[in-house]
């Protein structure tokens, strides 16, 4: 029988990699910082000790070449896991990801799959500013041939990483740094979670909130506040951005008639637009209000705290949006202190 216990998101990540490295000798983990004393914020702890420096190693600062390196290893029988401390750094490898990894299987006539995982961390807070904060899942999800996931719980961090490593496709695995100290129930043993479908984090009937990555936390906090005035919000973690299966969102919106998409990204041409379009396709007759998209303001992310607060959306904006949709007076949020993991991440990094 599978037992569960409480562990952090970062422990879940290490555990998933260690478990798969034990199970399959073709799995290896590499990237800038994976084997140094910080171990990507502790998310690759224990690997170099257990598996040695040929299966867990740091690399030159050559994101482009090291991504192609992973492709070559994947095409010749290995299962590489490449780690980036920031999504922003992964952009140096866009040629490899978009031109090479995504189309190799197709271009080989379906003969040679690319079993490779690219983990990339989203930064926020303590002055991360505009080159340490990007998510860009919709950018990547735009490209056929890539899978893109944004796990938001320790259980999904482990289970989806296990499945990503076993998957025969390139999987971009996007982790928000603020989740790393989140604690949750994670099964011991296999724990694989499918790389498709959303997860309903909180059931409700009055409004559907679809959220990605850290925005799931904001949505849950908003739902707590709304519940106090008798509004039940259904919070859905999109979690698999590509291939995206909208069916759970459709079921929810057909029940609630209202939909908000809260994306951990910019709004313009973003994932929210995709969800909105699919909701209109499937739920047009059930909608009581237009689908609303929330996300970053259309600017690079600023450094200073007051402006950074203005840049991000969150629980307050979600609550105001729900109140407007349902024709409610604005509740007094002055006493609310929305929880943040940021305190654990005080600088310098």
């Amino acid at each position: 029988m599978t037992t569960t216990r409480q562990i952090t998101y970062r422990e879940a990540l290490s555990e998933a990699m260690a478990q798969e490295m034990r199970r399959d000798p073709s799995v290896f983990v590499y990237g800038i910082d994976v084997a140094d004393h910080k171990r990507i914020f502790g998310s690759s702890n224990g690997l170099v000790e257990e598996f040695g420096d040929q299966r867990c190693f740091s690399t030159p600062l050559s994101e482009d070449a090291m991504t192609g390196f992973g492709l070559g290893a994947a095409l010749t029988g290995m299962r590489p896991v490449h780690v980036h401390m920031r999504v922003d750094f992964m952009l140096l490898a866009m040629n490899q990801i978009v031109n090479m990894l995504s189309s190799h299987y197709y271009g080989s006539g379906g003969t040679t799959p690319v079993p490779m995982v690219i983990r990339a961390v989203v930064g926020r807070g303590w002055g991360q500013s505009f080159q340490h904060n990007k998510t860009l899942h919709s950018w990547l999800a735009h490209i056929p041939g890539l899978k893109v996931v944004t796990p938001s719980t320790p259980r999904d961090a482990k289970g989806m990483l296990v499945s990503a490593i076993r998957d025969d496709n390139p999987v971009i695995f996007i982790e928000h740094r603020w989740f790393y100290d989140a604690v949750g129930e994670v099964p011991e043993g296999d724990g694989a979670e499918p790389l498709n479908g959303c997860r309903v984090l909180r059931p409700g009937k009055d409004i559907t909130i679809v959220a990605t990555s850290w925005m799931t936390v904001e949505a849950l906090q908003a739902a707590d506040v709304l519940a106090r005035r008798g509004i039940t919000a259904e919070v859905i973690d999109a979690r698999t951005i590509a291939p995206f299966d909208v069916s759970e969102v459709v079921t929810s919106v057909q029940k609630s008639g209202h939909c908000i998409v809260v994306d951990n990204d910019w709004v313009h041409c973003g994932f929210g637009a995709e969800v909105a379009a699919q909701v209109y396709d499937h739920c047009y007759g059930s909608l009581k209000s237009p689908v609303t998209r929330l996300g970053f303001v259309p600017a690079p992310c600023p450094c200073t705290r007051p402006l950074e607060n203005a840049f991000y959306t969150g629980a307050t904006e979600i609550i105001r949006c729900v109140e407007e949709k349902l024709g409610l007076d604005q509740s007094d949020l002055s006493g609310e202190n929305f929880f943040s993991y940021e305190n654990k991440f005080k600088g310098p990094f």
Binding site: P60, G72, M100, G107, G109, P243
Partner: protein, 319 residues
Amino acid sequence: MSAQALNRDLYRTVYLIRRAEEAIKENYLDDEMKTPMHMSMGAEAIAAGVCQALDRHDPVLGTYRSHGLYLAKTGESDRFFAEMYGRDTGMAQGKAGSMHLSAPEEGLIGTSAIVASNIPVALGAAFSHKQRNTGRVTAVFFGDGAIDEGVFWESLNSASLMKLPVLFVCEDNGYAVHIPAEQRHGYSDIAEVVSRFDCGVHRSESTDAEVIYTLTRDALADMSATGRPQFLHLKYYRYLEHVGVFEDFKAGYRPRDAFEPWLERDPVKVQREKVVGLLGEEAVAALEAEIDQQVAKSLEFAKQSPFPARSAVVEDVLA
């Protein structure tokens, strides 16, 4: 391997490449091969010599100019021409075309139309084989334009650092598309620059496939003895336009008289003279007739093959 057998093999390869590309030229204006042709004509000795020196199943990677590499590695032309004609019987059902030839079962892992993109892929393949002690060497072919790209330097550095069994094969025709080396390079001698890395360097301007073969064997011996990656700097002359099947001297960016000395030592001619000396005219003519027939049959096979079903467009996007 005897000198006769080696040179016969090399001639078979250079002649097959030349004959296949002549067949492309002869048929291209029918407009049935709807794929951009980056012709190998003039470079035959490089693919033939290097692949001859490698083990048959050693992984290789190439560029959009890989007709020669594909034919040298596989020796087959049915799937080759079917791919050119966009047919279901091509190695990728016509999804790849001339620029993305592959034959993973023969070791040709892939070819890319983005300059330099396969250079780092070779490092990963080499790492994978090194980890499993297979003894395989991974060769990656690229033009001199690729050394203008950052990823070449990232890859050279990492391969040297990690002592990966990679054979870098720089096929230098002096132009990146139409831009000559002197307008692109802040140094005079790429081989000299590469030699500053922990990497073996070998260079040649020969059009003799046997010379390239011997040079490659020397490089592989160096790799075996030292564990270092190796860099071959091989000059050649691109006979035809950057893309397309015609000469382009009228464009004015390179003079025809620079071509003449290369044409005098044309790789197919050089190898033919050698094998005629070793095997006699009759044996060579018989070999040529065999290859002529192979190419003619492959062309017919391609033209007779069906196009892929419409449904194939969304097949094999994900594994």
